[in-house]
Symmetry: D2
Subunit: 342 residues, 4 copies
Amino acid sequence: MIRFESDYLEGALPQIIHRFTATNFEQTAGYGNDPYCENARNMIKKECEAPDAAVHFLVGGTQTNMTVIAAALRPHQGVLAAQTAHIEAHETGSIEATGHKVITLSSDDGKINASQVEEYVLRHRADESFEHIVQPAMVYISQPTETGTVYSLAELEELSAVCRRLGLMLFVDGARLACALACDATPRLPDLARLCDVFYIGGTKHGALFGEAVVILNDALKKDFRYIIKQRGGMFAKGRLLGLQFETLFSDGLYYEVGENEVRLARKLKAAFENKGIELYYDSPTNQIFPVLNDEQIKKLSENYAFSIQNKVSGGTVTRFCTSWASTEANVDKLIKDIEGL
Amino acid sequence: MIRFESDYLEGALPQIIHRFTATNFEQTAGYGNDPYCENARNMIKKECEAPDAAVHFLVGGTQTNMTVIAAALRPHQGVLAAQTAHIEAHETGSIEATGHKVITLSSDDGKINASQVEEYVLRHRADESFEHIVQPAMVYISQPTETGTVYSLAELEELSAVCRRLGLMLFVDGARLACALACDATPRLPDLARLCDVFYIGGTKHGALFGEAVVILNDALKKDFRYIIKQRGGMFAKGRLLGLQFETLFSDGLYYEVGENEVRLARKLKAAFENKGIELYYDSPTNQIFPVLNDEQIKKLSENYAFSIQNKVSGGTVTRFCTSWASTEANVDKLIKDIEGL
Amino acid sequence: MIRFESDYLEGALPQIIHRFTATNFEQTAGYGNDPYCENARNMIKKECEAPDAAVHFLVGGTQTNMTVIAAALRPHQGVLAAQTAHIEAHETGSIEATGHKVITLSSDDGKINASQVEEYVLRHRADESFEHIVQPAMVYISQPTETGTVYSLAELEELSAVCRRLGLMLFVDGARLACALACDATPRLPDLARLCDVFYIGGTKHGALFGEAVVILNDALKKDFRYIIKQRGGMFAKGRLLGLQFETLFSDGLYYEVGENEVRLARKLKAAFENKGIELYYDSPTNQIFPVLNDEQIKKLSENYAFSIQNKVSGGTVTRFCTSWASTEANVDKLIKDIEGL
Amino acid sequence: MIRFESDYLEGALPQIIHRFTATNFEQTAGYGNDPYCENARNMIKKECEAPDAAVHFLVGGTQTNMTVIAAALRPHQGVLAAQTAHIEAHETGSIEATGHKVITLSSDDGKINASQVEEYVLRHRADESFEHIVQPAMVYISQPTETGTVYSLAELEELSAVCRRLGLMLFVDGARLACALACDATPRLPDLARLCDVFYIGGTKHGALFGEAVVILNDALKKDFRYIIKQRGGMFAKGRLLGLQFETLFSDGLYYEVGENEVRLARKLKAAFENKGIELYYDSPTNQIFPVLNDEQIKKLSENYAFSIQNKVSGGTVTRFCTSWASTEANVDKLIKDIEGL
């Protein structure tokens, strides 16, 4: 069975395992106060051209989202997000468990835009009952989104501008950020640092064993952030493991290379489905693709491949195939052959 | 200025003020442990034909909703409600502040139905990522709804049946329950007691100075409920004031009378708008009506009347006029005359 | 049975009931946006010599405490309080339910002092694991305390100074504030306004049917406070009832008069116990007194009087007798006679 | 610099790193639904002689504590713990952030006993204001405690008996459990499974890179536990890493061996301090020891060793030295020599 159902099915880049082995018996302080974390933080700040940023490392995405959002909001405030957003749909109410509402905006492709945000906020402010309605105070987007789509630099500029004009924070969930960085005309790391209040650089889905790097630009949010990490269960004892991984990912452009490879292989798959006349439900340029398959096709491909089954639509069932840092050309080519034979 | 913008603009039924005066210097135990509360609880249980119900009195609606829902749910559970539901739209995220998601179902008229609930719950259970999604564990409806519409007995029977089959609790917010009881074919109090796990009988909007009576039928929810009332700030020191009010409302059919009068006057207003060819945005049979007025009409009526301005729609602006226990025939007739003159 | 077990056993001052009656059919806007609340707010600001204060009215003490504290703290912050503090011991964990720890300081008499606060905060800051420990950010005291004792003006000055030097907020719970104002050398309202970040003036225990007036001095805490009131269930629909009560209490010095009378009667009782050689467990100059009675004495007094039974100590059982705005000279004299006959 | 300040300063047992390397390119399902986790769960159930237990793997201790406690308690319930307990003192209010109070019991040595628990619970139940006080519903202890002491089997039997008689849950935090298992007369794993409702087996401090294994015995707590893990941010994407580690720890008695070695080396250190006439502040038989050093001694030892500085006491400063799975005999002997030379 060759598995494409998600991008966290394998371990980590060999370089990372190697670093763990090489440093295994060293003694360093815990909780991120070690030289590897310090170095990784500096490398990321440099990569983001953001010397004043605060960089923190957490273990996983849900933990990161809830920690950032809990740290940012006052009790009566909520976070605007697409109705398909991960924090809304697939984190078991972790944001609500910190006391905050996720306020949803409609979206066909996983993205929301500046005018939706502006309209929502202005409507709230004009409502005579505004104090009876959760106050929108942050915008959450994913880059790429849960449906594989990406924000262009221009779109992010617009979102950022409207957030700043209205006094909202902008938070970008970059669980699969390397894939967005592999696309044309999308924001680079320095753009994210310039346009966001906070974003995170995903490691788990790009070759780390685990780990996400939070980059905080907004000074108010920097204050006491480590307390909140600890409170939410995210203060990792052997913190250097996170530093070692991000040092590795940001050495020799490895992080970008991982993203480019994931995207390249996914596009090969995408082309194969398209050539076969199979509809792709979302127009994703990144490492997740969503072919609409009929029952026959699902049955046939399931013999040798694992992939994710999503919702039924007219025309069949939306499925999801992901490439990962560990996907091999050979396995992708084998799948392409089988797609051609459907 | 004659005010119709809501139904909590005046004090209380004179009978209630009279009872406060008559008992003012009596000494009774606090926190609801007094003979007046005891008597009121018994009157309500009798009225509901539910001798085993637990009845508690709280001060207001938001407090009641958050106390009931926090008492009922485990941390990973959420409450299904119409997207227009009061807990979703007008309680400043009070449910989220207790840690729980409000899961919204679409609704044109403020109501949700049994098949929507069933579909949502079954889809959740079939989802391979079900543990990553908030578990629906309660259904919240308002009777009447925020748009003035009512559930028929048949509709409530269906909702109750689906909830029981699927193991969800059913909670009915009766902030304006007397108005629903004044409509044909709607559930009576014994029906609510038979079909719900918990519901509340609204006092604030039906002639009390303040107060809502929670009726709990589900044994699991009865346990330790007073702790939760205290924790959420709802344990009223001079509790007898709540008992005195509900004793009064349930003496001589006063509660029903108040609802009937509110509804009767609202329907007179409704007919006047209809006769004038003015659209009513929601087809409400209760004490809130929603005429769509143009700017000219709004300006003209605003000279002598206060009413609530809601959202813009094609054709004008949705407004809301409410009658209350204190609305007078004379004031309503005066407004009708002015509607005729528009 | 004559009851002295607490100070919320009767209704309200006749002047308040009269105001309710006189205004009962007036129509005013809800949620505190009415002329009576506006006037009461101005009266309180004047009384406090604090024209820039924000004044809000809530229904009860627990609700007020949790609303203020939830509004003030970030998630990792806690509130310092005496181990006997009401928020620690008698509010069913309402502060924790908003996510915050109550950090307790030891106290023999219900009071905490400036050096305890300073020592705790400095120890926290010097601890190498400070980020693993809740950050103290507010000091909560009650005036008078739960054991009837009062802070002198000098003591409050010291607490305020240390809070300001260390960057903590100071919050005074004034559920029984009128009794403290009736004592010598205690802070007056303008002192509280000058020295605190926020405090509340208790109505429920001083002749109101219900209601507490929160006075906010700290600008950061003023922002969006009404959202938090609504979220925590404290936005009272017929808000003018709160305004009417505080207008009345602050007319003609009525609030002070109530406190003076409560204190005067309590001191008569206290003297009677002392004359009889009965120990008073706390040295309370206010309306709560705590005689240590033996079983025989408890049995005898229980025949005609209700009072509160607290903990056992060597020498007997600590009991509590309270006077209220409605206590009569005749009833107090009758009790004194029976104390003399013990 | 040789470091003894904590037991999470190094990486992991070489056997674990080896397993990561050997399986690195395998594809397995995420979130703990893989064969390695399945096998590790079975090994632990067998080791505990608890075939019906539910076993879950989480990343760290704070995350585990807050997930278990949030899953177990209703909103008005709290957890009893020693005032020195990790959840009270060193987790930044993570329990309060889930809405629950930690109710502290006094303790000189980090342990609490059955009679303390019984007395607290009975006092609460007898209090006339019991509904105004957080309801104790769980007892939390650490084995070993934060001060290195251990509960004997007899003591745990007593605690368990009182919890069952009173209807409270018993939760044992086993962050350093291997060290307790290396002591005489302490509960074995099957004892813990028989006597507790839930406990966890610590990996992070016993040779794992990270990871704690929660063992749930109480059926009510098993239900939907994975939802709560996800909600609190603890659902680890590449879950097999946790399974691989616990498989390794429970192969060939490795877990016990690690604990025995940590304890053996710590006792050598302890004897050296004692021989030198240096007081040990707590009488710890496990891997943490607490010598009271004077400034001179601290200065001298600091030249070559890192250790933790705790509080000042009469006679000097309490310090902490920990041994870990990676401590070498040579380093310990070197330190002993330097202790002798103090």
